[in-house]
Amino acid sequence: MNTFRKTYKPFIGPFDPCPPMKVKSYETPPQLYMGFQPYNLPQFPNLQTALKHGTLWPALFAPYENPYRKGGA
């Protein structure tokens, strides 16, 4: 299973004016890995759930949360 978010530790200079952000992140959603969508991928159980997720297929669903929030990267 591929992760939807990657993190890295940028260089922190000794004379930087602001408190450093030690970890930075970027998103890597599932379409980057899928290639041609395979036939018969499992679907969400009903339309309401699918609409809520914005897609019919769990394999293409990528949750997103503000990485600057507490608990985020």
């Binding site: 599932p30 914005g54 897609t55």
Partner: protein, 189 residues
């Protein structure tokens, strides 16, 4: 032609009176990677791409218009009850001076929309690569917008829109695969 359904593609609820957010959301209304640019780009490309991928451009271009409507709804909800003073404080004083509370196709910085935000190269691969990039840029804009609000209802609608960009990107990536396919090669799935 189109049939219009008198409802939004996905419900839009805004729970926090944050007028400044209206200004930021405008980026997706009339900005370079916004929904208007997306819709016009894809619907225009339909005419000059190979037959096999016209349908994808048609469907996605149409869906972008539905997204445009959702963004308009958000902006409208956030500005309709604002006084000129509220708008000034939210950084929308210049907008008010020119447009009152009318929505306008401009980006978050107030720069009017322009057709130069997208192109039509006529080369299917070049155009599809632009489309894929446009989807990833729109996905990013939604992330930056989500990062600037704590209104969970607004975040819910923005998260839906972000997910749709992921699906669109997937479909355009598949279009490239379709065009790469050798004409007479047997397909094995």
């Amino acid at each position: 032609m189109w049939y219009y359904e008198k409802k939004l593609q996905y419900p839009v609820r805004v729970s926090k009176c944050d007028v400044q957010m209206a200004k930021f959301l405008t980026e997706q209304y009339g900005g370079a990677d916004g929904e208007l640019a997306a819709a016009l780009r894809y619907l225009n490309q339909r005419y000059t791409v190979p037959d096999k991928i016209i349908g994808v451009l048609n469907d996605i271009g149409t869906e972008e218009l539905a997204h445009l409507e959702m963004i308009a709804t958000m902006v409208y909800k956030l500005t309709k009850d604002a006084t000129p003073d509220d708008l000034k404080k939210a950084g929308l004083g210049a907008h008010y001076a020119n447009h009152d509370k009318a929505l306008y196709f401009e980006n978050a910085g107030g720069v009017p929309f322009t057709a130069t935000y997208f192109t039509a190269k006529g080369d299917p691969i070049a155009d599809l690569y632009e489309d894929i990039a446009a989807e990833e840029k729109a996905r990013s804009t939604y992330q930056w917008l989500i990062n600037m609000t704590d209104d969970t209802d607004l975040i819910d609608s923005l998260t839906f829109l972000r997910e749709r960009e992921i699906i669109h990107s997937q479909r355009f990536l598949e279009c490239v695969e379709i065009l790469k396919e050798e004409r007479d090669r047997k397909k094995i799935f």
